[in-house]
């Protein structure tokens, strides 16, 4: 171990997250591989090690025998300060080697607030931030993850993005990079060739021009790069490798358990939801596959908990079969099975009763909108009856706390809808008074609101976000509408949401702001401990970028969107149709009732959309 590191570690909080050496980590002989890859997660160890995508890709990339892929996370503030003081560069956990010894850095970017941390990690590695300032092929700096559905704000920093699911395309990029390294190609030569791989987006091969009104005039590809980059998907989820020997952290992380991914995509089509659109088409794994992989992973990790992952667990058709199969293994071994993202229906409640492991304390509902009209407008198919009926069963069964999540500022929202949130909480309270098994324990109803953020590649991508002042007005309206003392109201601040809206819908001009925020000390912006709204506002001002243009202004329907050249499968015409339906407060049936021909099925070769 590095002497400097040895002296630092006893002084920082939770040093085990900075040492590597965990069970199931992959160690290779660095002299025997052609490429050393630093797989970087722009957030803390605890968050990154909880990320299933990170775990999957760590193993698929390491399955190439010419690559040694190692993990890198962002240090927490105390460690960051100590590393700066000791001039210790960012290092990879497996080998402890500085990132300067690596051929490539690959970032997994799942959320916009991680952007400043990407820059910070590059800087801690001693690597110039902008692609244009890195003339050599190596180190190649690339990224994937949900952020790639609108890569533009980060476009100047990265050499290459992969759009979509990485299991296959990442290895294709690495195979080409190896050829380039061994063949002595120039960076440009490599990038032009890489752009021919489906799912690869090379920002420097696209020229962006702007109109007088600030909107984009055109995005023009060069050197044979495709006009639109089509995202990659895995055709057969049963055949794709799943890490049954994941790394087991030696210190507590956020999700410290086996995660089984049931399916990708979502049949629901909530109009505010980016994930529900960009992960289509719907592809499910077979229960037999999942049971076998789950048991294997439990054996290899020693975890005492397993959880099912997907956007909506209840929509997995063979759920009963899967649960039975897993419980046969788990119950005799006291292993807990948990099922997040259940819908508010009878079946789910029976299932939860059956899984005695679920603590009878809290139920959480993402209701999103305060009236049926608004829920219809956002296509959130939850009715008040559903909710109250579920609460009735829950209260009768001994639950005594309910959390209700809403967004304020959804398109078409009126003051009546906001007052409706308080009314619904009263209904839930009434339901508890009528049906609770044991009233002595009392009840806790919590309402939480966040500020709606319009997201690219969703039907609300053209929408304006409400201003911070308007959000606060709505918060106060809701506060004054809540009368019952058993009802608690928490609201998220709108400042982070405004920044997130700008970063979500930004174009390449926003990159200057991200860099400026970083220069002013911004990093780990996803943490309220570190986020500074003032710093962002100062950076917007000094770069001459108006945040309201990106966040609070409706985009004309005929405008070229910064992310139009990224094709996630769902057609723009479908998104536009869904937007019209929203303004008519009309529901669209879910994919199982009627296929909306959203366009994502075109990505399937002979496979069948499980919608």
């Amino acid at each position: 171990m590095d002497k400097r590191l040895e002296r630092i570690l006893p002084r920082v909080q939770k040093p085990a997250r900075y040492t590597g050496g965990e069970y199931n980590q992959i160690i290779k002989d660095k002299t025997q591989v052609d490429l050393r890859l630093a797989f970087c997660f722009p957030d803390t160890y605890e968050i990154g090690m909880s990320n299933l995508g990170m775990s999957i890709l760590y193993h698929t990339m390491n399955s190439l025998d010419f690559v040694w892929c190692e993990r890198v996370f962002a240090p927490w503030g105390d460690m960051y300060e100590e590393m700066k003081k000791a001039s210790l560069p960012l290092y990879a956990l497996e080998s402890g080697d500085a990132l300067s010894e690596f051929d490539s850095l690959a970032f997994s970017i799942g959320y916009e607030m991680a952007y400043t941390t990407v820059l910070d990690m590059l800087d801690m590695a001693g690597i110039p931030l902008r692609s244009a300032d890195r003339p050599n092929l190596l180190p190649l700096i690339w990224a994937g993850g949900t952020a790639a559905v609108n890569a533009e704000p980060m476009a100047p920093f990265l050499d290459l993005f992969v759009v979509g699911e990485g299991e296959e395309v990442d290895n294709e990029v690495l195979t080409l990079l190896r050829e380039a390294k061994l063949g002595g190609w120039s960076k440009r030569e490599f990038l032009v060739k890489a752009a021919q791989i489906q799912g690869v987006y090379v920002p420097s091969l696209y020229e962006v021009s702007y109109r007088g009104d600030g909107r984009i005039a055109a995005v023009t590809p060069k050197d044979g790069a495709p006009a639109r980059v089509t995202k990659r998907i895995i055709q057969d989820l049963d055949a794709v490798p799943y890490p049954t020997k994941p790394i087991v952290p030696s210190t507590e992380v956020v999700h410290d358990r086996v995660s089984l991914e049931l399916f990708r995509g979502c049949v629901r089509g909530c109009r505010f939801c980016q994930a529900g659109h960009v992960y289509r088409p719907i592809r499910a794994k077979k229960p037999e596959t999942l049971i076998a992989q789950g048991i294997e992973a439990l054996k290899n990790t020693g975890y005492q908990d397993i959880t099912l992952l997907s956007l909506s667990t209840s929509d997995y058709r063979p759920l009963p079969q899967l649960c039975d199969g897993l419980l046969d293994y788990c119950e005799p071994r006291s292993i807990g099975l948990s099922l997040p993202s259940l819908r508010a229906d009878n079946f789910s409640m029976e299932l939860m009763e059956k899984l005695q492991k679920v603590r009878k304390s809290g139920l959480t509902f993402a209701v999103e909108g305060g009236s049926q009209r608004l829920r219809d407008a956002i296509n959130k198919n939850v009715t008040e009856e559903d909710l109250l009926h579920t609460c009735q069963i829950a209260f009768a069964g001994g639950w005594n706390s309910v959390k209700l999540y809403y967004m304020l500022g959804l398109p078409t929202e009126t003051d009546e809808d906001i007052v409706g949130i308080a009314e619904m909480a009263n209904q839930v309270l009434h339901c508890w008074r009528t049906y609770a098994k044991n009233k002595n324990r009392g009840v806790k109803i919590t309402i939480s609101t966040s500020c709606f953020i319009p997201k690219p590649q969703s039907p609300f991508q053209w929408e304006a976000q409400i201003s911070i002042e308007e959000y606060l007005r709505r918060v106060n309206l809701l506060r004054s509408s809540i009368t019952a003392k058993n009802v608690t109201y928490n609201w998220h601040d709108a400042e982070t949401s405004l920044v997130e809206a700008v970063l979500s819908k930004g174009d390449r001009r926003v990159a200057d702001v991200i860099e400026e925020v970083w220069r002013r000390g911004g990093r780990l912006d996803a943490w309220s401990d570190y986020f500074s709204f003032e710093r962002w506002m100062q950076a917007f001002a000094s770069c001459g970028v108006d945040p309201a243009f990106y966040a609070n202004t409706e985009i004309p329907l005929d405008a070229v969107l910064p992310w139009d050249h990224i094709d996630v499968g769902v057609r723009k015409a479908h998104l536009l149709h869904e937007r019209e339906m929203a303004y008519a407060s009309a529901l669209s049936p879910d994919c199982r009732h009627q296929c909306a021909a959203c366009g994502a099925a075109k990505l399937l070769k002979g496979g069948r959309c499980d919608g």
């Binding site: 570690l9 087991v248 507590e252 020693g302 975890y303």
Partner: protein
């Protein structure tokens, strides 16, 4: 099987695993190796394991002791290798056996330490350290359950020997493991408080051996 004890090493990168995390890590190791730990009864069952003397983060050990119980009879001779293979880097099981003596009978610990001096001469530091620790009483201020308090650490040091090791000063000491517990980190802390000019720039320790109050090996 009840009354089982493990003796194990915790070195290298594993020294940064905290006590609570180590308990979790060992539990998972047992599962992975296919050993079923015995659980407590009650509403929130937990495995019946306990580690004799919690080790501070950053200190290595070649003599950790953990008591545990298993649901079934197993071959204890093959347990160390099988369990070690299921544990992270740096944790090595030395032996597993049925114990007869309670952990409370453990009294003395042999520790090895390294005092690093960046700018100062190891030989003269070594001389000064010998003098310092030859005192009959070394009173320091340390945090206790009731705020800051004065303690004489000298009676908790049974023997201490310093030697020059290249640019560093090495030490080997026998210190009280419990009643009172002397955390070896207090050895350099005492210097910082009483004679800062000979306090090392960095110090690290390794536990070497466990003894009872008669200085017989404790197992």
């Amino acid at each position: 099987m009840d009354k089982l004890r493990l003796r194990f090493k915790k070195t290298g990168r594993a020294v940064y695993i905290s006590h609570l995390d180590l308990m979790q890590t060992l539990q998972r190791g047992f599962f992975r190796a296919g050993y079923a730990l015995k659980y407590s009864e009650g509403f929130n069952p937990h495995p019946l394991i306990s580690i004799a003397l919690p080790l501070s983060v950053g200190t290595a050990s070649e003599c950790e002791l953990m008591d545990f119980r298993l649901k079934e009879d197993v071959d204890l001779a093959e347990l160390p290798a099988r369990l070690t293979a299921a544990l992270p880097e740096g944790i090595e099981i030395l032996e597993a056996y049925e114990f007869t003596r309670k952990a409370a009978e453990l009294k003395w610990l042999r520790v090895r330490g390294v005092f690093e001096y960046d700018e100062r001469d190891a030989a003269s530091m070594c001389e000064a350290l010998r003098e310092f620790y030859a005192r009959e009483s070394i009173v320091i201020t340390k945090k206790t359950k009731r705020g800051m308090g004065e303690t004489d650490i000298r009676p908790a040091i049974r023997e201490i020997v310093f030697s020059v090791e290249g640019r560093d000063v090495g030490l080997e000491a026998v210190i009280s493991a419990q009643e009172p517990t002397l955390n070896p980190d207090l050895l350099p802390d005492a210097l910082r408080q009483r004679q800062p000019e000979i306090a090392p720039d960095f110090a690290k320790f390794t536990r070497l051996e466990t003894y009872d109050k008669e200085m017989e090996l404790f197992r």
